[in-house]
Symmetry: C2
Subunit: 244 residues, 2 copies
């Protein structure tokens, strides 16, 4: 399992430094920062002996750039995240449950942490396949960013790697595109399309699809398309390589 930590617009440089230290403590090094705050002396001080990681962290300006090569996108939010209705299961899986879901898979997984004050935007949450929440006290559920990273990495650090390769991110995007086309083909009610699309994405997202499973799904979708009375492009070539 290649684990990437993505901090979305972190506000406090001390937290970013602390995150790099926690990552190095647990043997992780793939860090991507989306529009981070300035990282200067305080960030370096808090990173302690993980300054190399702070300096090598990739900086990007959009979340899409941070996750485009990842097979599974996990958003980490506190209880507060439960106000969102995006067909995401909130409060979400605990780190322990998430570890069990990921056990046995190989591939690149992004774990996203939101802004210290406002977490994720609605659009950012839409990009997540699954939501993870650290079980905390109802009285004060909002954890410090670096504490949350430390707890997640502690839990994930003994994850069992295996040979089953997670689906390629490009194949997953194609799958979602084909599902969207399917809804078009079957004349699915226009006003329900967006929500249903998102629900389908959630279902397949949290099932941690393997490569061969995505190929099979593509095959099924193609056969549906061929049998659809409304489809004029029956013999188009797109996606046919998935039938092998």
């Amino acid at each position: 399992m290649d684990l990437r930590i993505v901090l979305v617009e972190p506000l406090y440089q001390g937290n970013v430094g602390s995150v790099t230290r926690a990552m190095k403590n647990f043997g992780y090094s793939d860090l991507v920062l989306v529009n981070p705050c300035k990282l200067e002396g305080e960030a370096r001080a808090m990173s302690s002996h993980a300054r190399d990681l702070l300096e090598s962290a990739k900086r990007v300006s959009t979340l899409d750039e941070a996750i485009e090569d990842c097979s599974i996108i996990i958003g980490t939010t506190g209880i507060a995240g439960s106000r969102f209705d995006l067909h995401l299961r909130v409060p979400g899986y605990s780190p322990k449950e998430m570890k069990e879901r990921l056990s046995g898979c190989s591939g690149k997984v992004a774990v996203l942490f939101g802004r210290e004050d406002n977490g994720f935007t609605r659009e950012e949450l839409k990009k997540c396949d699954m939501i993870m929440s650290i079980p905390t006290s109802d009285i004060y559920p909002v954890m410090n960013l670096s504490h949350a990273v430390a707890v997640v990495l502690y839990e994930f650090s003994d994850i069992k790697n295996a040979q089953a390769p997670l689906a390629d991110p490009g194949d997953m995007r194609l799958l979602y595109q084909h599902l969207t086309e399917l809804l078009d083909d079957i004349n699915y009610p226009e006003h329900k399309k967006e929500k249903t699309n998102l629900m389908l994405r959630r279902i397949f997202g949290r099932s941690c699809l393997l490569s061969r499973e995505v190929y099979t799904l593509h095959g099924i979708l193609r056969k549906i398309k061929r049998n659809s009375v409304n489809d004029a492009d029956d013999d188009s070539d797109d996606g046919s390589y998935y039938e092998k």
Copy 2:
């Protein structure tokens, strides 16, 4: 399980503040500070909404005061702690293993965290019944103090409470005193006494003795004493109430 966090001579007030936040996040409130650094603005800032806990934390000048009413004393150290030869099992139990040892018991347990730079002294480690080490990367095993607290409390937060009461701290002290007397009574080689004493303490310490088990041990020790040919105080009364 009543869990107490004890910080031994913490050096950085920001860490103390962060520790209170992590404690409140996981629903813990019993914090004792042994000779802490000054706790001012930075500690309050890092405690965030746990300032009440920062203010109510008990401050003492010796470790003994911090742990005198605790049945089990757990020292948390990094890999670096393995240089000590005090019959302690180092690198020690992982938080997960420690949770399993404590599951099913009720009573007061102290989890000690040492100084940010030098950890525990030899004398402080002697007072620990067990050592706990968070599994970390060999490359950079030294965690930030508040990260270590957060990880331990995360792991312990779903511990199963039960009815089996841990032995009273006073009874444990009496047990260790009686074991020392036993070594005297049987003319144990003088030069080995201290080390063997410590080893006995470790064995009984890590077995998380219950009240009734300590009573039985006291009974056994008394019978040994009575049968000892070297013992002139055969009919002394001390400890006899344990035979009930």
